[in-house]
Symmetry: D2
Subunit: 340 residues, 4 copies
Amino acid sequence: MKKISFKDDYSEGAHPEILKTLSKTNLIQTIGYGEDEFSEKAKQLIKSKIGINNIDIHFVSGGTQANLIVISSLLKPHQSVIAVNTAHIEVHEAGAIEATGHKINTIETEDGKLTSGLIQEVVDYHTDEHMVKPKMVFISNSTEIGTVYTKKELTKLSEICKKNNLYLYIDGARSASALSSEKNDLTLKGISELTDIFYIGGTKNGALLGEAIVISNEKLKEDFRFYLKQKGALLAKGRLLGIQFLTLFKNNLYFELAERANHSAQKIAQALKNKGYNFLSQPQTNQLFPILPNKLITELHKKYEFYVWKKINETKSVVRIICSWATKKEDVDAFISDLK
Amino acid sequence: MKKISFKDDYSEGAHPEILKTLSKTNLIQTIGYGEDEFSEKAKQLIKSKIGINNIDIHFVSGGTQANLIVISSLLKPHQSVIAVNTAHIEVHEAGAIEATGHKINTIETEDGKLTSGLIQEVVDYHTDEHMVKPKMVFISNSTEIGTVYTKKELTKLSEICKKNNLYLYIDGARSASALSSEKNDLTLKGISELTDIFYIGGTKNGALLGEAIVISNEKLKEDFRFYLKQKGALLAKGRLLGIQFLTLFKNNLYFELAERANHSAQKIAQALKNKGYNFLSQPQTNQLFPILPNKLITELHKKYEFYVWKKINETKSVVRIICSWATKKEDVDAFISDLK
Amino acid sequence: MKKISFKDDYSEGAHPEILKTLSKTNLIQTIGYGEDEFSEKAKQLIKSKIGINNIDIHFVSGGTQANLIVISSLLKPHQSVIAVNTAHIEVHEAGAIEATGHKINTIETEDGKLTSGLIQEVVDYHTDEHMVKPKMVFISNSTEIGTVYTKKELTKLSEICKKNNLYLYIDGARSASALSSEKNDLTLKGISELTDIFYIGGTKNGALLGEAIVISNEKLKEDFRFYLKQKGALLAKGRLLGIQFLTLFKNNLYFELAERANHSAQKIAQALKNKGYNFLSQPQTNQLFPILPNKLITELHKKYEFYVWKKINETKSVVRIICSWATKKEDVDAFISDLK
Amino acid sequence: MKKISFKDDYSEGAHPEILKTLSKTNLIQTIGYGEDEFSEKAKQLIKSKIGINNIDIHFVSGGTQANLIVISSLLKPHQSVIAVNTAHIEVHEAGAIEATGHKINTIETEDGKLTSGLIQEVVDYHTDEHMVKPKMVFISNSTEIGTVYTKKELTKLSEICKKNNLYLYIDGARSASALSSEKNDLTLKGISELTDIFYIGGTKNGALLGEAIVISNEKLKEDFRFYLKQKGALLAKGRLLGIQFLTLFKNNLYFELAERANHSAQKIAQALKNKGYNFLSQPQTNQLFPILPNKLITELHKKYEFYVWKKINETKSVVRIICSWATKKEDVDAFISDLK
């Protein structure tokens, strides 16, 4: 019997509505490379959802691609990017950022989040031309360990960045889940205003693939399509990305899917809390990091797939449980009832 | 009224069979990043179609991505790649190859094809460490101007590469059209045996996106997935690529689509010949480069979209006409009847 | 018996005055990395010789290092540099520019010089984000084949660059010889005003090593020392470069040495003309490219070292003859008397 | 009055014997780019001093240049280098390594030294293609904080590298001081046998500039001059480097100079110990890191130049005191007598 997967939020295909729209529009001829009518409409729609018109939007295929394009196109050769030690760009992108020539200045944190104090420390440490020059702050929202930034926290980051002439960039692979979290008080508009550039994640929230890079800082808009092309990110059939975002942002589907994912995860989180289990980080989104007895992990692994994140001691480990828009209610219930 | 496009072979979406299979498999859970069952099956299927088992296959999203990954992963920092002056990597990839650190040694040709003599000349010119060291030959089949390599020609290229210790790499964005050309006497197996690495194009032959990189040279197989990841090419939902190639290579659909495209183009080519028009290059595939009077071009442009490729003189220009698997018979007929 | 070398202008060590100054200052303690008093004085001296104070000067070790630092620090990832096909950066720097990520757009010329028309053509050809974006023009003065730019020619280049928003950069490895040519009507001040950045060559005019990068364009000055450091160009004992330029620019030694080199070369050129020999390019500086019978070349090679540049036909070839500040009068006379 | 500098070991010019030899050989004509007779002799001499003939030697201008060339030429794009968090390549090379495309995996240590256990941990952590692949271990001997590796320690590092298929590379900017330390039991031969590649530092031990890269691993020798050229490291007058190493390695001058530097430093170290001061790291070479009261630091700074390395608490700081071959006995004595 095939196991039920709580491994990630990209185990299934796309939301059916996306496939339906792809089929419906399939034989309409368009021009290529993202200049088609669907992509244009999708951009207009996202702008209107954000509530700001003076922004540029570009669609790319995935998160690592978004990150390496954004960072390499914005930084000069001697400039670096500041990130937490658990950041996706630092650990899980096979050196993609360094491959474009840039150092990542990493900061150790407990909860996966940066603070203005930590950023200032890194900036102050870099005093002369023998060292790189930090020029960008990279954060993820939600973070790699499922936590979210509040409006107050992001505002402080924005301020420290402005003060130090740093760009603020958010990796929003799971922006849907973050913005749908009960802890969230940010909006797309707020994010757009507080950052220079960020991306809205599609792949992990119902798309086959696709992330929407949003550029607010006027200086960063120029020639961005050159960077897309040069890094192999301009799809000949760019419509594939446009149509998906058009579908996701029509009728609020994008946030409905995230709410569904969060709801499933939070139901499991509550069950785990009820059983007295602790968490590596606060369960705020569709990613949970409970600390479980190894025995229970072994037992659960017979029916469910999920990652063991980190060993705590000889008897306990942190595991990662992820729910998606496609997670079935009966699978959640089964998992909960299998907790001992 | 919307014009009929002969601009390219990626104006429409995917072959309907692909969309159907995507829908059918949509909610099946798989692991991510191209290690899913569909991708595995697709690789097996392609291997069996090629008729060689000892090859590695990797799916990526597009041609520029394929080219930059292949070239940057195979070459050491001081090594260069030889290509014709009209090569896609030289002209139309926004410096993607140089951005990974490598020079392209370009050679002027009339028909878009390299010969062993031209290659040897470049190799002989590079004699010491003050110059780059050519290490790879890049060709496209079909070429940028629609011509195809014969088995004899490719065999000679293969020999000169082996003699000079160069890798031979084929950009197969339009490999389907090339292999379905009436001038063709190559097979996937032959290509696989005569080259070190090549890719089978999907995007321009019925897929939403997707190219299949095929590695024959044992030395080039190691760690290839690292390069994919580092350049942002590992899709979280890698199944999207696997499912498409699975569909294309089941029941020969891949070659049927190319034959359809070629057939439409050749019908137009014949009509052009009948009218006495010449061509920039021999019309052998789904791309035509007829030389037309500017007056006729202006007239045709009222109903049809296509590129003006190059000015010949004050009264004539080369245009590019492309047909795809989705080109409608009535559009071909209309175009022909509009030729004067 | 050791042969007399006319191979290049870096066959000997430094002008004795340089070695003397190095010895005299040897045990004075200074701070490192080019911030020492000698380097500061040398910069002030060069500024006063140029007659412009509002410029930045940085010393590096060699021409390839200067070129790769200047180009990689000024260009964004998608931007390219325009150069003639015989340019040092295109042919003889082992792909140094591409290794920093940038394409060179090459232009074929007869006399090694660019013109505004040729530049405009390249700019006009690059129309969209599928291609690189030319942003810099690279020229050498004197050129790789010994010719020099006149003030009028450089002014036109400067204008076409300004019109197209391109940086103009001069590789001045042999700027001393160029500015001391009889054909020259440019000054360091003129060059400084007409370009954004250029370098004054030391290695090929009496220094052990060392080139002085001069930045006029305000926008290009920021953080330049970071680029020096990152590319390994900041010498711990930066004084070595400062002391040499201080010596060269005191009492006009720099131009005296070049005049001496040019004089020796022109004496040979005149003798060659008298014998009726033609040249690949006009003999204007310390580099000569006469076309000689192969028989004579063989004869001369018994006593002299020099490069055979290019075969003309079965009986004739172009050779390269170079004189330096250290070329001995008796060697010049001997060479001339050995011409048949 | 000018202060006496204990800031570094590159405050003065070259050992007078070097300047003398440069003068003596100055007008001899040689071929360029390091293929001259002096460079050849210097390489032979170093080989004989090492006692191994089957090694390749290349001269470069400085440490950052050596590091970036070695690392970028040896690693494939997805491979990384392991180093301590205080490593020169991590902190003080302005991102030079990342600029060539490679990540540095850093490890925190107290004494600036790596151990096999720490290396194995990093290797074990990197399990799949989502992460970089560690392929090289970088150490400095002496380290950035003045400590030296013993033969036993280096042997263990060599073993763990071989076991994990990692290259072992030593930055020997201060190899002279390390090998002349009282704690040292390594020889150039031993280092050569236990590593794949290392460099022998000249700049910080009596040369104007110059480091000698020594390659033992057969696989790493190929095409190395291409890398030198591409990174701007091939000096036209390569003799400048050859002559210096020829002088340094004739009659053991190289080690005499280091002994002199170490002796001066150890005399100060003993005086500091006598006064009861502690050290950040054991004083083993020409670099000292004593912990001094801020008051004393202020007092000393009136007459002496040296860096404050790190604040310990409100009243104490670590300072860095460096002696060189040129440090005067009277300056050492004065400094000691000024300690309170």
